[in-house]
Amino acid sequence: MAKKVKLSEMTDMFKDVEVLALEGVTIEGDIELDLSGLGGGFDPMLAALLGQESAVLAQHFGRLASMFGVPVGIGAPATGASAAPAVSPALAAPKLKDLIPSKFDFSNIEEWTTQIQEVPIGNTSADGGSRGKRVLVGGEKALPFFPDAPMPNRNQVTIDVFDMRIGLAKAVKENYDEVMDSPGEWAKKNVDKFNADMITIHLISTDPLVKDTSPKEAAKTVEEVLQAVDVPIAIGGSGNPQKDPEVLARAAEVAEGERCLLASASLNLDYAAIAEAALKYDHDVLSWTQLDMNAQKELNRKLMKQCNVPRDRIIMDPTTAALGYGLDYAYTNMERIRLAALMGDEELTFPMSSGTTNAWGARESWMVSSPLKEDSDWGPREYRGPIWEIVTGLSLAIAGNDLFMMMHPTSVAVLKHITQTLFGTVEAEPVDLANWIGSGV
């Protein structure tokens, strides 16, 4: 068996891609970063990714690619055998004489009429806040990654932080153990090490059945996080419908002017109180329903009509169920919502957010091994969990989801890499497929 890398190493590899291509880090910084990556032990995987990325840079700096020594076609050794047929079977009356040319005709057949609302999260100093950047979600005029209309904004990932130590799957916990007692440090790690676009601070300790932390205490945690990082943040309650409105209102107040995403307004709590706090203190609202398109329409309508929340402050969470545990429902629900929106249903034309972390609830992602002895070996769970989170998120990205709430750093890195590839901002050295049959795949 070839060598296995640690997931943390893998995360680093994918993370560098991100930094280089997409986050607009200055080129000087990049080169240093790259070269240090190539120093010591030369890692072909890292090199390949750098090679891919160097193509982006090469557009600006002609000679850069040669500096890196772009590894062309690693893993695809030429076999020598050409694809040209050597022998042709002798047949008396060949039926195939000439090619009958046919053109593939593709025009923009889909008549999608309506654009999804674009929603900003986070206020920079120009907008009256203190965030270092603003995140934009939504704005699509077609299904994700479809050629009918360019997708204006890439997918964004917000990484979870909790306001207390909680039980997490082992593979996840490893990454956070030393910061779990400090939301600020935790948030910092998510941004600095794991390349989070945003942070979600979950105020779960406010639940009366957990620690019953007061709204005032909880608000302090929010301030701590806002000070620790300068990315936009989402603020989540504990899920207790009686207490959440009060907790979120208080948090909204201390975060005034930062344009945070308040998570969540739902039909089974005082959504009006949350909407009011959002309007008063300049925040966005996450409109959360449970796998029910009609309930989603109802809540959005109430937020707009009853509570006067402007369209550019609403994001929807139609609920994420994990791969193998209801993803079929979650996928279809999102795809239907997005199609209805594109075809003009004004109650659904909002960007969507997914609690992708739910993937960690699937037994396949955390159980040590299969409970059934008949099953083929499930393999090490350290590798199962992150890919479960990736596949859950990726499926929903294709269904129309814009913003992802995630946990495992590797999942974040890989999800970003694939969604940005489909989005069109990842360059790679072209691969010659002609020899795939003979390659040492």
């Binding site: 072909p44 079929d328 199962r384 694939i418």
Partner: protein, 469 residues
């Protein structure tokens, strides 16, 4: 499908309401034809009586799916691919789950090859009452040597019932493989702009399905498909190339969309199943196997959702295959109806009159989760699957499909009598249905014990609470 209302299909039926199809009326049967839950062969008069022959042929033509269905292999494990009618699964459903073929190469040593073939054939992952399996073997002619390839194909077909894809651009090599596997209806990979004449003739001579391949060239692909179709080749699969990274991958994604959309919109020249090759992830310069497997799984996921009908894969690491087979199952379930088990009393292990009685719902995911938690811990018991229309415990309790009346009704219909068939006069209910406790005690006249929220904790709970004092 060229028609979409039962009324249109009805015109072609005998209209006698004879009931032989199991439906009360021809109209009811017509709606089954339209939602594809029934097929014309199920109407005996239509098939048997000569006078209906014309109508039958016309109806079959109208009902044929937009995307051609192609069969690879023979027997029980033959793989059907294609056959779809819609672009979005909720509009109907996707038919013929994406088929996963794993590669072997003719330059592998024999023992390794046989071992890998066995591993592919034996793979299984239990899920809601069935096993998720892998579907076939793709044999790569890495040697480009006809004799070597023939030997490898022979070894493969001797060791598996699974269908195979013969992979070479060299017609002589393909012919050698076909000679060995000609009774197995293998898929030929592939005809391209250089070899199409020879490979096309092979497909005709051996009557096997064939892939036409043109990397990132849809005009070329369509030209090949059209040429083959005109020559009488019906079973065609399209390979537009699967680029594993960067802009190439984006192009590939776009190509899949364009092809499928054109096919569904009625362009019959390109309305064939599409082949994706996630295994090209291993050509993208990713050298460590975990990252490459992850990337391969990512590609497999993208093309399971967007229109890959058959795919060639390499990694057999469990963390790659497990999400792949699950996602195919997810995308290809019928979004209109939950997967359910029969509502009845099940025996777990060998229960007797002292064994506990429990109930759960008939949502397959719920039932099998509970059943496996009980069985794998050696708990002998009676387990009733209450008919909740295939909804899980919590959603059914919230939506009204799980109520005391429903539970009583399911007990009555199961023929199981709690008062007579067991001695303890007790029922254990799911923790998430705790709110039904009082109602149930009244309706069933037994002691109702509230179990844990998650059936995974039933073994510990039983130790503490069973038998009841």
């Amino acid at each position: 499908m060229k028609i979409n209302s039962p009324l249109e299909a009805y015109k072609y039926l005998p209209q006698t309401n004879c009931g032989e199809c199991g439906e009360p009326t021809c109209m009811a049967f017509a709606s089954k034809l339209i939602d594809r839950s029934g097929k014309t062969a199920d109407c005996p008069p239509l098939v048997k009586e000569k006078k209906f022959a014309k109508k039958l042929a016309e109806l079959d033509r109208l009902l044929a799916p937009e995307i051609r269905q192609v069969t690879i292999g023979v027997g029980d494990r033959a793989a059907n691919i294609g056959g779809d009618d819609v672009l979005y699964r909720h509009k109907l459903t996707f038919f013929n789950k994406t088929k996963m073929f794993f590669d072997v190469a003719d330059n592998m040593d024999e023992a390794a090859l046989v071992e890998r073939v066995k591993k592919i054939s034996d793979y299984k992952k239990f899920y809601v009452g069935r096993n998720l399996l892998l579907d076939g073997v793709a044999i790569r002619a890495a040697s480009n040597d006809p004799a070597k390839f023939a030997a490898a194909v022979k070894k493969v077909v001797e060791n598996t019932e699974l269908p195979v894809v013969l992979c070479s651009f060299n017609p002589a090599v393909l012919k050698a493989g076909l000679e060995v596997a000609k009774d197995k209806n293998p898929l030929l990979y592939a005809a391209n702009k250089d070899n199409w004449k020879e490979v096309g003739e092979l497909a005709l001579e051996y009557k096997v399905p064939v892939v036409v391949s043109a990397f990132n060239d849809l005009d070329g692909l369509k030209t090949l498909a059209k040429t083959f179709a005109e020559a009488g080749i019906k079973d065609i699969v399209l390979d537009p190339g699967t680029y594993p990274s960067g802009k190439g991958l984006k192009d590939t994604f776009t190509n899949f969309l364009k092809i499928r959309r054109a096919g569904i919109m009625g362009d019959t020249e390109i309305a064939y199943p599409i082949m994706a090759m996630p295994l090209t992830a291993w050509m993208a310069g990713i050298s460590d196997p975990v990252s490459a497997s992850y990337w391969e799984t990512v590609l497999a996921s993208v093309f399971t959702i967007r229109y890959g009908d058959i795919m060639l894969l390499h990694s057999m690491d469990p963390y790659a295959t497990m999400p792949e087979v699950h996602l195919a199952e997810t995308i290809y379930t019928d979004p209109r109806s939950p997967v359910a088990v029969d509502s009845k009393m099940y025996k777990v292990g060998t229960p007797d009159e002292n064994s506990p009685v429990l109930f759960t719902t008939n949502f397959a995911l719920t039932y099998y989760t509970v059943e496996s938690d009980l069985a794998s811990n050696g708990i002998n018991c009676w387990l009733l699957a209450v008919n909740t229309d295939g909804i899980g415990v919590e959603a059914a309790a919230a939506g009204g499909q799980l109520s005391a009346d429903k539970v009583k009704d399911s007990f009555d219909k199961s023929g199981f009598d709690i008062h007579k068939d067991v001695t303890h006069n007790s029922v254990v209910i799911p923790g998430l249905a705790a709110r039904l406790q009082g109602d149930l005690e009244d309706k069933l006249g037994v002691r109702v014990m509230v179990g844990p929220m998650d059936s995974g904790r039933l073994p510990g709970w039983m130790e503490k609470n069973w038998p009841p004092k």
